[in-house]
């Protein structure tokens, strides 16, 4: 009786954990993508102070452990008078950490655009902004999408760390459920499978779809 109750309770908690994991993944992905794009552009800016800021940002967020960063945001920053809610820390802590990696992807992809494209833009006298927006970014985005797919899967996985800042997401929920029922095999297997499904059935197809959208003109099937 007791065990059935605990099981029912645990399944409900697990479902809630899945939803929390999804929400945090989605929100921090948005943060990571937006900041990654901005910092990536700043990183190759014409002005050296901005460029240096970009380098420092990227090196800082890539150089230190995400867990250390999240822990610092959550437990140390309030001592300096800035108390962010656990959700804010989770979304921005993870998002900003991943944006450091994302910015590098953006930079590499833009710098990887064929030099001839740059020369053609000059020959056509395109303004820099237009050239970036219309010529380089579309090509760079296509080139960096597969790497972003991997990065977002990494992001999904790292949401398991927000257990340390009092949010009960999927990993924690499965741990609590396993602790309560003693059935570690069942609940951990369910959680592992849950992450796998989110990655395989949600993130990968989404990125593939975007790749197809941005592939116009790059593969022969994409006939107009």
């Amino acid at each position: 009786m007791m065990n059935e109750l605990a099981l029912g309770f645990s399944v409900a908690a697990l479902a809630k954990g899945v939803i929390i994991t999804l929400v945090v993944t989605l929100a921090s992905s948005l943060v990571a993508i937006v900041l990654g794009l901005i910092v990536g552009l700043i990183r190759i800016s014409l002005l050296w102070p901005l460029r240096w800021f970009g380098v420092a940002y990227i090196e800082f967020f890539r150089g230190t452990s995400m867990l250390v960063q999240v822990y610092w945001w959550f437990f140390v920053l309030p001592i300096f008078g800035v108390a962010l809610s656990p959700w804010t820390v989770a979304i921005f802590g993870i998002g900003m950490n991943v944006s450091g990696y994302g910015a590098e992807l953006v930079r590499a992809a833009i710098q990887g655009v064929d030099r001839g494209q740059y020369e053609a833009s000059i020959a056509l006298n395109l303004p820099r902004l237009t050239a970036m927006r219309r010529i380089f970014l579309p090509q760079a985005i296509r080139a960096m999408l597969p790497a972003w797919g991997n990065l977002l899967i990494d992001l999904l996985k790292s949401t398991s760390l927000i257990f340390f800042i009092t949010i009960t997401e999927l990993t924690t929920a499965s741990k609590l459920a396993a602790d309560a029922t003693g059935n570690y095999l069942l609940f951990f297997a369910v959680a592992l499978f849950g992450y796998y499904v989110i990655a395989r059935a949600l993130i990968t197809p989404l990125v593939r779809w975007l790749e197809r959208r941005f592939s116009r003109g790059f593969v022969r099937e994409a006939q107009a």
Partner: protein
């Protein structure tokens, strides 16, 4: 003016007696008129390596100049400097009577800023060896992008003009194709249309047939030939197509070791080269055939 010169030159072919005299007049005419492009003591170095030194070259309005020479002689650099793809180390480049690389400020010549460059650069168009078409845009989109954002044309107007240009290069049926769906010759013709869409006064062609399969070279050269006869365009082209240079150009420049080793009308340069290096180069090229 230039028609007069061409007329005079045609005449000289028949009247050998007058040849020296007429050529002299023609030369005087050119100096008198303002050149479309002028390189004045231009030098280009990469570190300590000198690519071009003391280049002085005037190109008249509507003149068709071909540049030939062995690889590494600096011939492509000339076009790239004119397109502002390379910064020059010394000298001044003039386009249409005003400085391109410099501007006047308080009576002094100072290096041009971005605004000045953009304004003067608008008179120049360039076609590249490797096409450099925008791969994510159709042929038509390639040709309307810059006219809309740089010339400020309405989309409709830009598309009409682009369609005309694509028609002129013989690609009206390919305008909705992406570059990857086109052959090399077709790509290069789109690139020419794209450059023309900007209404340039000077067109630069940088080895535009070198990346093409031999059977596709002709269609591109035909388009260029047509441009030369039907439009008022100053054309400057780096090429390995000696036959085309001979038939098409008003003047041929032979580059060697960062200098113009020899220049002159094609008949003279190909028929009776004065410079030892020119002879060696021409015989090597012809032997390879």
């Amino acid at each position: 003016m230039s028609e007069t010169i061409v007329g005079l030159e045609n005449l000289t072919k028949r009247c050998s007696v007058l040849e020296e005299l007429k050529l002299g007049i023609a030369r005087t005419e050119k100096v008198m008129s303002e050149p479309m492009v002028r390189f004045e003591n231009v030098a280009k170095r990469y570190g300590t390596l000198s690519v071009l030194d003391e280049l002085n070259l005037d190109i008249a309005r509507n003149e068709k100049v071909c540049i030939i020479g062995p690889s590494g002689s600096g011939k492509t650099t000339v076009l790239r400097m004119l397109m502002t793809l390379e910064r020059i180390n010394e000298g001044v480049i003039w386009v249409d009577g005003e400085p391109l690389t410099h501007m006047r400020k308080n009576g002094q010549m100072v290096p041009a800023n971005e605004r000045h460059l953009r304004r003067v650069r608008g008179k120049i168009g360039m076609v590249f060896q490797h096409f450099n078409l925008f791969p994510h845009m159709t042929a038509l989109q390639n040709c309307v992008e810059a006219p809309i954002s740089v010339l400020g044309l309405s989309r409709q107007e830009a598309e009409t003009r682009a369609a005309e240009l694509l028609d002129m290069v013989g690609l009206s049926d390919k305008k909705n194709h992406f570059p990857i769906q086109l052959s090399g010759g077709q790509k290069q013709r789109v690139a020419i249309a794209r450059a023309l869409a900007m209404r340039p006064k000077v067109m630069l062609f940088d080895e535009v047939t070198s990346a093409l399969d031999p059977e596709l070279v002709g269609e591109v050269l035909n388009v260029i030939r047509k441009l030369g006869t039907e439009h008022d365009l100053t054309m400057l082209m780096v090429t390995h197509q000696m036959a085309f240079a001979k038939e098409f150009s008003d003047r041929v420049c032979f580059f060697y070791g960062g200098k113009i080793a020899e220049q002159g009308p094609p008949d003279q340069l190909f028929g009776d080269p004065q410079h030892e290096r020119t002879r060696q180069f021409l015989s090597a090229v012809l032997e390879a055939r």
